[in-house]
Assembly symmetry: C2
Homo-oligomer: 418 residues x 2
């Protein structure tokens, strides 16, 4: 059949399809196998005010005790505990009020037997006192205070180092900083912390038919949808968008852009095997095209590889496929380099299918679903190109490669968007 053939240039390449597709597991395993080479991103110093959510690069050892002095845990009276022994509401014991202890100030002098000092929560315990009698257990009587109950030595007093001991590790490297962690860091005198530098991610949007994001469609030209979506996904996952822009769909432009200063390169569009799909070929020629074509739907034309110390992800231009390939592969790598869990940042719930969810053995399906209470309804969509399916959906169900899908009534795991 090939004898009289006069093919147009590269027509065979454009039309060959993927000879063989990698499994999702193989693609994931490849990512995990190469990540260690990228794990030594230098740390960066950030001020406490912007550190929430960042990942600590080092253990934090407290240089001080917290509290650094014995302090009152109640509003009341600093006393010698033994002076209150035997006091009850029916047999109050009288103590002379010598003055007031305020937070931040040292009381001059030493409390002696029979004396009390007004004290506020957080104020340093004066010399001579060893307990605090809460205001609720007292009554005023002129210059005297009546103790209406007992307090033992140490009662209602925070001891030195009770909260945090000097030389104790308060937070470990790898911790994603919570709001309250910033309070602890502040308390021990830390104003800047060393955190994992976000991986730099370069987003390359290819497709000569595309107009800049947010541009009204013009004839057969449509606006880029993937640039804004990918930027938001990268930021969500702890990456830094080094740059995101449209580049010309020619080998020279793509080759240069693939060498941008970044740890991770995301290429949207031109990921398949057609003659216009330059990125896979360039990656294979100049670096390593490790995975190309994946047994999943959507996103089967996705690919990935390495180029001069960069991880490169080839994401299909179709926005649903792009989202799916990002979530399965690129997001995993970005989260890992950012020091976060590689797990999906989606909350999971269990629900019951109200309709059949059909899949095909041999590929992983990413099925968008709506959730109403416990009911899970697959969206009726004709193909992967329906971008609005990802906004109409509440989340998605993953159908593994060894499954033909699920019948109505099956209990399924739903990953919830947003």
């Amino acid at each position: 059949m090939s004898a009289p053939e006069i093919p147009s240039p590269n027509a065979d390449v454009r039309m060959r399809g993927f000879a063989q597709r990698a499994t999702v597991e193989a693609a994931t395993a490849w990512i995990d196998s190469v990540l260690p080479a990228f794990s030594a991103l230098p740390a960066t110093q950030v001020a406490l005010s912007v550190a929430s959510g960042c990942i600590l690069a080092t253990d934090i050892i407290s240089p001080v005790n917290v509290p650094g002095f014995s302090r009152s845990m109640m509003d009341g009276f600093a006393v010698r505990g033994e002076d209150t022994y035997g006091a009850t509401a029916y047999n109050p014991l009288s103590l002379r009020i010598r003055g007031t202890c305020l937070p931040g100030k040292s009381f001059p002098g030493t409390l002696v037997t029979g004396e009390a000092l007004r004290i506020m929560t957080g104020a340093p315990l004066p010399a001579g006192a060893d307990a605090v009698l809460p205001v609720e257990q007292t009554e005023l009587d002129g210059l005297q205070v009546l103790a209406r109950g007992e307090v033992s030595t140490g009662k209602h007093v925070a001891q030195v180092g009770e909260d945090i001991r000097a030389d104790e590790c308060v937070l470990r490297a790898g911790r994603q900083l919570r709001p309250q962690d910033l309070g602890v860091l502040s308390s021990i005198g830390v104003s800047q912390v060393s955190v994992i530098r976000p991986p730099r991610v370069r987003i390359l949007i290819t497709g000569n038919e595309l107009l800049p994001a947010g541009t009204p469609p013009d004839g057969f030209r449509i606006a880029d949808a993937n640039g804004p979506m990918l930027s938001a996904l990268v930021m969500r996952d702890g990456g830094e968008v080094a740059a995101s822009d449209m580049i010309l769909d020619d080998p020279q432009s793509i080759r240069e852009a693939l060498l941008s200063p970044a740890e991770i390169i995301l290429v949207s569009g031109g990921s398949s095997v057609g003659v216009e799909d330059h990125a896979p070929r360039l990656l294979a020629e100049e670096g390593e095209l490790a995975i190309h074509g994946i047994a999943m739907r959507p996103s089967s034309p996705a690919g990935m590889g390495r180029l001069s110390g960069r991880l490169v992800f080839l994401l299909p231009g179709n926005p649903v496929s792009c989202l799916c390939a990002y979530d399965f592969f690129a997001g995993r790598a970005i989260r890992a380099l950012a020091g976060r869990s590689t797990a999906w940042p989606y909350r999971q719930i269990r629900g019951t299918l109200v309709r059949k969810l059909v899949s095909t053995v041999g590929r992983v399906d990413y099925a968008r679903v709506q959730v109403r209470g416990d009911d899970v309804e697959p969206l009726a969509i004709s193909g992967a190109s329906i971008l609005s399916s990802t906004t109409r959906a509440d989340g998605f169900v993953i159908v593994p490669a060894d499954s033909e899908g699920y019948p109505p009534g099956a209990e399924v795991n739903v990953f919830l968007y947003g």
Copy 2:
């Protein structure tokens, strides 16, 4: 007993304690009752690139159809479907390849019977064609393509408006924008969106004993822990920190600061009933001190009210109490004004107590716990002042006011930090 009394000024005020504490439910109900007056924050326009996570202020109606033209959903050949009828792998039908359709370009001319055009995914269907024959169902034969299967009219063609119809509402007001929503907005030509303006939150840190956040402790003076923590909490909940700073603990400074331009004022410290606790008195004098003293632990000295169109939250200076009062009350208001759910932004799990969790009937307890697998262990802490308890804890358990706590083995709901 009061006859010979020569009290120091305001000693009775400092020492009176709370006459009566409001329930947590009453405080929450008060917040919910006043929120509607604040719900009309003006919208603000933001670029798509920064819109992820923002709350839409208006419905978004698509001005266009997506796709705006019939386009191919596969790589293959644009054909007249009827030209393929009867084609099988054993009986391929031959079609003449007339050229190539590329994305973004219109093919000049009209396909006639017996012809095929190479077409890429996303390319507009040429005039005369009504279906796409996938490359997998073809074989090349010189300038001919052999159809090895049938395609009916419309097959593998995305119809005009199939994804989004013109005049359809694609996203509703109140939606928290997801990454993929930005893709949809971009596709319909929207480059800016109207979103709810984040509520401005002014953070006032009081306490003359305090040093600026992150300063090493100096004698009896300690660093502010609440400023950085509250800023991070406010940002987490969709608020904008208008300013956060330490102010002098005197009535005039506090009065002025309470009138800062903001929707919400958070006052840290001086929230109780002592003579040094100016904010509650000022709020009562110049506005409304609606709630003061709450039946909960920690945070019982918390309060709230209104002042000239601002919601004011009085948060105890103790960092654990401050965190707790923020989460119960201030965070609720901030999330509501930001257009978000008032529910806690903490993931919940069920677990089993490995030790007794003791509480007191009549107050709500906020118990910090560690979680190991299914095991939930209350932290052994002596009081509310242990800030590190919030970093050592994985989350917290709420013990309602009508409960004395839970025995070992009880199943409890844990709200997970971070």
